[in-house]
C-alpha cells in the first residue's frame, strides 16, 4: 500500500517538475512535505471525529448494525477523490466514541445521505454551494483542505500556514449542524468567521 502511494507521489512529483519547473531541492521538499502533511491531516481527522459530539439519536438509530460490543457505526464519506491518498484507510473498522468507523467513497450529493463525516476533495470545490445547501441543518461534519473552506461555510478546514498544517473551524456551521466540538480541539484551531453570503 505504502509503495503504491509512494509511486503515485513520485509520478505527481515528476509531473510537477515538468509543469512547474521546480528546482531539485524544491522537488525533494514537495515530495516529503505532502506525504507527512497528509498523515498529519489524517491524524487530525481522527481526533476531530473523536472530539466531536453528535446528537445522541444520530449514533444510536435503532436499525444500525452493531458489533459484539454493541457498537453503532460511524460513516466517513470521501466526496470526490481521497484527499489523503489512503492514509485514512487504517481507520476502517476502528472505533471512535464507541462507534465503528466505515469509509465509503461518494461522487454525488445524494449519496451523502448516510454520512456522519464528509471529507471533500479539492476537485469538488465547485459543488460546495450545492453540497452546503443540501447539508444545511444536517448532523454531518464537513472537513476539507480546500482553501477558504471554513470561510465558505464548511466546518473544518485543514489549512496550511507558513508551511505548517493548521486547523480552521467555522463555529457557526458546526453549531447549526447541532454538533459540538470539544474545547480541547477548538483550542488548537483558529475560529474563522463565515464570509458574508456564505453559510
Amino acid at each position: 500500500m505504502l509503495c503504491k502511494h509512494s509511486l503515485t507521489k513520485s509520478l505527481i512529483g515528476i509531473f510537477y517538475i515538468i509543469m512547474c519547473g521546480f528546482s531539485a531541492q524544491g522537488f525533494a521538499e514537495e515530495i516529503a512535505s505532502p506525504l507527512y502533511e497528509q498523515k498529519i491531516k489524517a491524524g487530525l481527522v481522527y481526533n476531530l471525529i473523536k472530539y466531536t459530539e453528535w446528537p445522541k439519536a444520530v449514533l444510536t438509530t435503532p436499525n444500525q448494525v452493531k458489533n459484539n460490543y454493541n457498537q453503532a457505526s460511524l460513516t466517513i464519506c470521501l466526496f470526490g477523490d481521497d484527499p489523503f491518498d489512503g492514509y485514512l484507510s487504517p481507520l476502517e473498522g476502528r472505533t471512535a466514541q464507541q462507534a465503528v468507523i466505515s469509509i465509503i467513497h461518494v461522487n454525488s450529493i445524494p449519496e451523502t445521505q448516510n454520512c456522519r463525516v464528509i471529507i471533500i476533495h479539492r476537485n469538488q470545490r465547485k459543488q460546495l454551494p450545492d453540497l452546503f445547501a443540501v447539508l444545511q441543518h444536517k448532523n454531518i461534519l464537513t472537513i476539507s483542505d480546500i482553501e477558504n473552506f471554513a470561510e465558505l461555510g464548511g466546518m473544518v478546514e485543514l489549512a496550511r500556514q507558513e508551511e505548517k498544517v493548521v486547523l480552521q473551524i467555522n463555529k457557526n456551521s458546526v453549531d447549526s449542524a447541532k454538533l459540538i466540538i470539544d474545547a480541547s480541539m477548538l483550542k488548537l484551531a483558529k475560529i474563522v468567521p463565515p464570509k458574508s453570503g456564505a453559510q
Partner: protein
Amino acid sequence: MKNSPLSIRMTLLIMVGMLNLLIAVLIGYRVYKSWDNYQQAEHLKQGISIINALYTANKNLSQARASTLSIMYSTAEVAEPVYQDVLKNRKAVDAALNMAFEGLAKEEIHRNSGSLDQLKHKYDILLQRRAQIDVGLNLPVSQRSRSITNLFFEENTALITEIQDFILIYSRSFQGIDSIISQHMVFEYFVWDLAEYSGEEYAIIGQMLAENKYPTQLQREQLSFLRTRIEYGWAILRKFALNEELAEQLFPLMEEASTQYFFTFDQVSELFHGNNPVGADASYPISSTLWLGMSAQAVDSLLVLQNEILTEIQQRANKIELDAKSEISVSSVIFLCAFAISWYCWFIIAYRVARPVNAMVNALYKATHENIFEIPKIRYQHEEIGKLLHVLQVFQHNAQKMKQSNEELERFAFIAAHDLKSPLRAVDNISEWLEEDLEEILPAGSKIHLEEMRKRIRLMDKMLDDTLEYARVDAKIDSHANDIVSGSMLITEIIGLIDLPPGFTIITGDNLAKLKVKKLPLQQVLFNLINNAVKHHDKIQGTVVVDAVENTTEFVFSVKDDGPGIDPQFHQKIFEMFQTLQPREKSKGRGMGLAMVRKIIIANGGSISLESADKEGALFRFTWPK
C-alpha cells in the same frame, strides 16, 4: 436434701450457657470479619483517593514537561498561551501532591515512608528547577540555558517515575483485599506506564518541533528506547484488556486510545525517526502547539482508560464497604436475636422447668423420707410441669391417705391385739376354774376338750403377741442405744439366743465377720432367718452359712441352709403373716418369722429374695442400706 454435684438444672443451664457462648463466638467472629472488611474498604477508599491524586499529579507533570520543553525553544509570542497551560498544570500538580501527602500523613503506619521522603525530595528539587525555568523564559530564546531545560526534563521524569514506583509499592497493600481490584490496579499501572512513555515521546518531539531541528543523537536514542517500550506496553495492554472481566468495559476504550495513538504518533514517526541529518535544521509541517495539543489528546485517551479503571476500583471499594456495613448490621441483629433467644431459653429452663422440677423433687423427697407433705408453688400450672404437679398432688394425697390408713391399721392391730389379750386371759382362767370346780363330775372327754381349748387360747395369745410385735416393727430405734458391732460378734450373739441342736453348725463368712454394722434391727432379721433354717431343717445335722457383701450404698446379706428347701410356688406365701407350709398343728412355728423379716427389711429401705427348689436347701438374700 443434698443436690448432686451436677444436677439436671445445672447441666441444662451449663448447656444453654455453652450454646450461648458458641453462638456468641460464631457470630462474634462474623461481626469481627465484617468489621475487618469494613476497615479494609475504608482503608482502600482512602488509598484510592491518594492514588488518584498521585496519578493526577503525574498527568499534569507529564503535560507540563512537554509544554515546558516546547516553550523553552519558542518565542515569547508562541510560548505565551502554552505557558498559561503550564501554569495550570503546575497548579494541578501542587494541589494533587499536597492532597496525596496529607492523605498519607493521616495513615498511622506508613510502610513506604522511605520512598515518600524520596518523593518529597524530588518534588522539592523540581520546584527549584521550575523557578529557574521561569527566570530563563524572561530571556531571549538564544540565551536560554539548554542544560537547565535538560535537567528540568530529567528531574520531571524522575519525579514521575518516583511517583509511579511509589504507587506500585503503595497499592500492594490493597491487592490482597479483592482480586478484581488487584487486577484493575495492575492494569492501571500498565496504562500509566504506557502514558508516561508516550508523554516522554511527545515532549521530545515537541522540543524538536519548537526548535525546528532534526533529533540529536541522544534524542534518537531516547526516541528509539521509548518506541520499544511503547510497543511492548501496547502488547501488554491488549492482553490485559482481552481478559474476560475487563474486556467488555475496557476493550472498546483501549481500541480508541490505540487508534488515536497510532494516528497521532505512528503515522508521523518517520518524520522524526527517519534518516534525517542529525541535529540539522528542519521544517516540520506541523506546529509544536498543534502537536502538543494532538499528542496530549492521545495521551489523554489513555488516561480516560485509566480513569475508567479508577472509577471501577472506586465502585468496587464502595460495594465492599456497603457489603461490609450490611454484613455488620445483619450480624449484629442476628447476634442480638440469638442472645435474646438464648437468654429466653435460659429463663424458661431455669424458671419454668428446672426450678419447679427441683421443687417437686424436694417435695417428693420430704414426702417419702420425712413424711412431710407439701405442694410447691408453681406459676405456670397449665403447662406440662403444672400437669406433673397435679400428678404429684394426687400422689401425695394418696400417700398421705395410705399412711394414715396404715397408721390406723397398725393402731387398730395393736389395740385389738392388746385389748383381746385380757378377755382371752379371762377365758383361760375361767376354763381352769371350771376344770377345778368340776373336776369330780367332769367326764374325761370334756377334760380333754377343756385342755384343747386352753391350748388354742395359748396359741391365740402367742398370735396376738406376734401381731403386736409385727405392728411395732416401724417404731424407731433409739440410735444412741444402737451399738455398732462386728459381723462375727453379731452372729455369735444370735447363736447364743438360738437353742441350737447338736449336729448343727452356723458358719460366718469372712466378709461378714469383718463388717461393722448397727446391731438393731439387723440382729432380729438374721436371728429369724437362722432360727427358721434350723427349726425347719429336716435332718439331724445341718449347716447354715451366713455371709455378706458390701457395695457402695448397701450390704447384701445371705443366709444359706441345706434343709428341705422351699417349693417355688410358696416363695411369696412364706413372707405373709401366719402362713406355714405345714398344717398349723404340725408346724414348728406360727408363720410370723419371715413376715417380720420382710417387714423390717422393707421398713429399713431394703429388699429380700429367695432362691430355692424343693429339697435343695434355701438361700435368702437381702439388701440392707448403709
